[in-house]
Assembly symmetry: D2
Homo-oligomer: 165 residues x 4
């Protein structure tokens, strides 16, 4: 595992988010479909594979950094209050998450949106946490869980239909 | 009203989708938030305003055209069956819808995804219709309803917070 | 090679675009950077790998299908003239291309835009062809060439910096 | 003018970027097309109108904030060096810029990419500045100039073709 990948996983853990937490969001979502035969380990391994992309690692690190800079009151601009309040018009946090999901195709868009609205598992815990600023982190987790789901669905559909199309 | 705008509204109607049908999806969604004081007429007028953008009209017309070309079996390529089956990997239909929502900011992403998963009102009727191909149409309607919602929320938040930030 | 991948490569050839044509656009672009040691074969192999994604194959097939349906005058709607004229406001053709580039990260955006404006190699030939409608095809080629470039740059940068970050 | 809009314009000025600098990039680009009769004042006024969107103001402020936090060495994570070096794989800076251009339709994508590669006017000055970190700022300016261009082109094309389509 590369240094930056291990660093990113540690940073997520320090903010209370484990690899399993993220994989579970995708697993619970995918297993609502009875036709899919997917287990939690596949979701975990898919996430570990997704975390080989440096562009994704950069977004996770920067997003967590921004959340922490807001917690430490280091921004001098009015953006402080916008981020702290998770202002619905802010839009940059969602951009980070969507852009992670996006790397695995268009089906990730609506999965991201669905997670962001229904807040399953760890996402709800992040969203309602009182002591920490998780404005970016919750969207990052939605994006990662949507990416797991898209990647697994693509694999599944590509193998099952290879000859019919 | 421009010729192309009227033409687009007529095409939607011929496919069973009225301006009110689309506005209602946004209205029912927005009014789950008790703090928002929005009525159906505002949703209708917002949609009529959105339909002044030619880029959006083009997507609606082309999307409906593709659905109809599939119905008439005019595509000779394997894309026929992909579109007819609303294959989860296809992705182009969602791209049309997301791109409409997108023009009104990042909050449209998750609203689009939420509508696409939960299929409120007319979207469910399109999705379960047996006789017609609505692969593009249902995503266009999700995109338009998400655009109404984003545009109204932006207006609402920008007027209410103008001075605080 | 899957049936659908072979089919897509044949369709491109029938429209006058070979795998080498597309790879050359990326190759000529990448080799303006003296620090990169990349050969044409790597560009070709990268493209062949990109063409394993069904979501990309679908966009290529549908884009070419639309160009041909316009040539055969099968659309009954005003979208005919919009596509035939490659109307600058149309926007859907660019969306197909961007979305292909996008799957390989954000650096693909500006490469796509740069190809679309400067029209190197085969892209210029498509754009100035008088007898055929290539409204979608030229953007698809820009997208594929940008995807090759992004994928190779990502590989290059990830291996060269693995330990520094 | 709202407090936040004025604040944003002041922040840009403190970083060496005036409204006129940005408008000039769009003006010089648009006037390479002899058919367009556009003057610098229109570009300036269009930019001032674009700066009424809070979502855009937020991206500008946060982008500049991040550049400054990197200058002041306040990030503790490895993202510091990634941003300082304007690492080609970083991708978040381009996302900010593209997302601004995007709000004005798909034609903004390639204009953004073209500016980002060719670096006209102020963009080159930002990019080669030795003393300051402008990783986000140069992409923000590309995005704003592309937005001006798209918005003016849309207006121009929609008025000129209103009846033909």
């Amino acid at each position: 595992m590369s240094v930056i990948k291990k660093y990113t996983i540690d940073r997520l853990l320090q903010r209370g988010v484990s690899i399993e937490d993220i994989a579970e969001v995708a697993f619970n979502y995918l297993t609502t479909n009875k036709n899919l035969n997917i287990n939690l380990d596949e979701c975990i391994n898919t996430l570990l594979d997704i975390l080989n992309k440096r562009e994704i690692l950069h977004k996770i690190i920067l997003g967590i950094d921004i959340d922490e800079i807001v917690e430490r009151n280091l921004f001098e601009s009015p953006i402080m209050d916008v981020i702290k309040g998770d202002d619905g018009l802010f839009g940059v946090d969602e951009l980070f998450g969507i852009n992670i999901a996006d790397l695995y195709g268009a089906i990730g868009y609506n999965t991201f949106g669905y997670f962001d609205k229904t807040k399953p598992g760890i996402i709800d815990r992040l969203d309602t946490s009182k002591d920490t600023v998780n404005t970016f982190l919750d969207d990052l987790v939605c994006g990662l869980a949507a990416a797991i789901s898209s990647k697994l669905l693509h694999n599944y559909m590509e193998t099952s239909n290879l000859n019919t199309l």
